[in-house]
């Protein structure tokens, strides 16, 4: 028998509660969106309108792309964008591959040191890798990797592994054992079994992907420390430097902020359902 959840009486108190809840959420949504919307709409206006009518949408009279022209002539944002894409893409692929392999081993096999290794790998969730920067820079200098994208990729891969192993192994433990045993009886190798399990934890892989990707794309610290040369700049470092140089050119500042923001917002809106579902499920466990 299914029962509808009990509702409180629909008197004045109930409606006041409903109204109040929506009012608070609307108000805070406004606070969350207002600065972002303001920057985006003003990036398409000519300079005077930015100051005279900041809250108006750009119209035929105020529309201008002069900020974007300055951005593209003043900085190699196309190059920075490709750098960010390469660093984020390769690091993400490495994290997913290495972490899923390790998570599979931790979830599937009983061996001496399993618990210890799990704990060792989980340690990195709480201790920020940034604290090892002095030593990381020296290591990259010794390896001849400074000002290369590979220095970033190695650091981000190491940084992403702990949480990814933790989340993936907790999901992989829930894959029923019968499935694997059946495959073993059919003569599947251990590597084949790993290949069979991966598609079964696809939602977890999606969650891990989003959580790995966002901090890598948005990072300022390591690009600043390890790869600040013109040809290895990422979008965020490029934007940071550009914004510092063009601080008084409002059109250019607004346009570069919009350019750096929009890709991640578009990705987020596309994947938000999966991200939030993954987070809410992952956190319950």
């Amino acid at each position: 028998m299914t029962r509808r959840p009990l509702r409180p009486g629909r008197g004045f108190g109930y409606w006041a509660q409903v109204l109040g809840a929506h009012a608070v959420l609307l108000l805070y949504s406004g606070i969350a969106l207002f600065p972002i919307v303001l920057v985006v709409i003003n990036s398409f206006k000519e300079r005077r309108s930015i100051f005279r009518t900041p809250y108006a949408l750009p119209d035929a009279e105020s529309f201008s792309l002069v900020g974007y022209q300055t951005v593209f002539s003043g900085a190699r944002f196309d190059l920075y964008f490709l750098n960010s894409l390469f660093v984020t893409g390769v690091s993400l692929a490495l994290v997913l591959l290495l972490a899923s392999m390790a998570a599979h081993a931790l979830a599937e096999y009983r061996f001496t040191g399993n618990a210890f290794l799990g704990l060792y790998l989980a340690m990195g969730i709480m201790i920020p890798i940034r604290l090892g920067t002095v030593s990381i820079l020296r290591m990259m200098v010794a390896l001849g990797l400074t000002d290369t994208l590979w220095s970033l990729i190695l650091v981000y891969t190491a940084q992403g592994i702990p949480l990814a192993v933790f989340i993936l192994s907790s999901f992989m433990r829930q894959v029923p054992g019968e499935l694997k045993d059946a495959a073993r009886i059919d003569g599947a190798s251990e590597y084949r079994i790993y290949g069979l399990i991966l598609p079964l934890v696809r939602p977890a892989l999606g969650t891990v992907a989003v959580f790995t990707m966002i901090p890598i794309w948005n990072d300022l610290w390591f690009p600043l420390v390890l790869a600040s040369s013109e040809r290895s700049k990422t979008v965020i470092l490029g934007a940071q430097i550009f914004l510092g140089q063009y601080v008084n050119d409002w059109n250019a500042v607004l346009a570069s902020l919009t350019l750096a923001m929009v890709p991640i917002i578009v990705l987020y809106v596309i994947f938000s359902r999966q991200l939030i579902r993954g987070l809410t499920q992952g956190a319950v466990k």
Binding site: P5, L6, P8, Q17, A21, V24, L25, Y28, S29, I31, A32, P35, I36, L38, P54, L94, L98, M101, A102, E108, Y109, Y120, G124, M126, I127, P128, I129, L131, G132, T133, V134, S135, I136, M139, L154, V155, T157, A158, I161, P162, S189, E190, Y191, Y194, N218, W221, V225, I236, Q240, V253, L254, L257, I264, I265, Y268, S272, I276, L279, T280, A283
Partner: protein
């Protein structure tokens, strides 16, 4: 789980790559950095073992100690604002988003989390523009409430810059506690809440009497995550106030102090071993926070559950 019999080659194949990359590029640098904090540079560019001299210098030398204590104090203020504003606000939003009476919950959830996916660099700049007296946005917004006369260059004043930056950081990160609390709240079985309603409890009593005690583990996780993130923060201050964390170091936190010590800024030359020492202090503070959580908070919770 299957017990393995022959030498488990596949185990090595599965585990070695992740363990190796993680050990070489994360664990080794952390420990090597702690080791470096016990060395001091010589004029001939080599380094010599100095024991805890760097730490003593950092905590007692008149050229270092005031900056260190200033950064630690500011960092605790930064943390306090997050605990007092970000986490209660996240809890409030999560409570509303988990309520059955609210419509369009998925839309609200997506919108409220949006600032969290943006880069801190961009967020810092956006807010600098909003607060810029040239643009006058903050004055207009206050004007809506008839408070335009209260408008001030908050980021430029020693008394207000740190709290203002903390609130900007709250604006960006409130999505994380919100989602973690939301996950915990939707995990509470409906029967418990219905039972209380039948007994005549109102929404307020249900929340504080039943829901909140049940999500205490999440409260602890949110607390420790906030602590680690805040004592590791850097980008926002560096972007808006530059490496010197002005005005007059009033927004200097451990992350910016670490960066300045390591790389130098303006007249101060960079000093890798002292940088490693500052990182060592940050490591101890963060470790202390995590241990308090693990041994005091979590253990106490377990006792209550038993």
């Amino acid at each position: 789980m299957k017990p393995t019999k022959r030498f488990p080659v596949h185990l090595v194949v599965f585990l070695a790559p992740a363990t190796l990359v993680y050990t070489v590029f994360m664990i080794y640098p952390l420990f090597d950095s702690l080791r470096l904090s016990m060395f001091t540079p010589l004029p001939d560019r080599t380094e010599t073992f100095a024991g805890l001299a760097n730490y003593v210098r950092l905590f007692t030398d008149a050229n270092w100690a005031p900056f260190l204590w200033n950064a630690i104090r500011n960092n605790f203020v930064f943390f306090a604002v997050h605990m007092l504003v970000q986490n209660p606000l996240g809890l409030l939003l999560a409570a509303l988003l988990s309520s059955h009476v609210v419509r369009f919950r998925a839309v609200f959830r997506t919108l409220l989390f949006l600032p969290t996916v943006l880069s801190i660099v961009l967020v810092g700049f956006i807010w600098r523009l909003i607060m810029s007296p040239i643009w006058g946005i903050s004055e207009d917004v206050l004007g809506l409430f008839g408070l335009a006369h209260l408008n001030q260059p908050w980021l430029g004043l020693e008394a207000t810059a740190l709290v203002t930056l903390s609130l900007i950081s709250v604006w960006q990160w409130v999505g994380i506690p919100m989602l973690l609390f939301l996950a915990a709240l939707v995990g509470i079985p409906d029967e418990l809440i219905e039972a209380a309603r039948v007994d005549g409890a109102n929404a307020w009593q249900v929340f504080w009497g039943i829901k909140f005690p049940l999500i205490l583990p999440t409260v602890g996780i949110v607390g420790v995550l906030t602590f680690v993130a805040n004592f590791n923060a850097f980008d926002l201050i560096y972007t808006t106030q530059r490496a010197l964390a002005g005005p007059n170091f009033s927004t200097d936190i451990l992350g910016t102090f670490f960066f300045r010590t390591f790389f130098g800024a303006q007249l101060q030359p960079g000093n890798p071993t002292m940088g490693a020492t500052v990182a060592g202090v940050m490591f101890l503070i963060i470790l202390g926070g995590v241990l308090v959580y693990l041994f005091a908070y979590q253990r106490r919770l377990q006792r209550i559950e038993l």
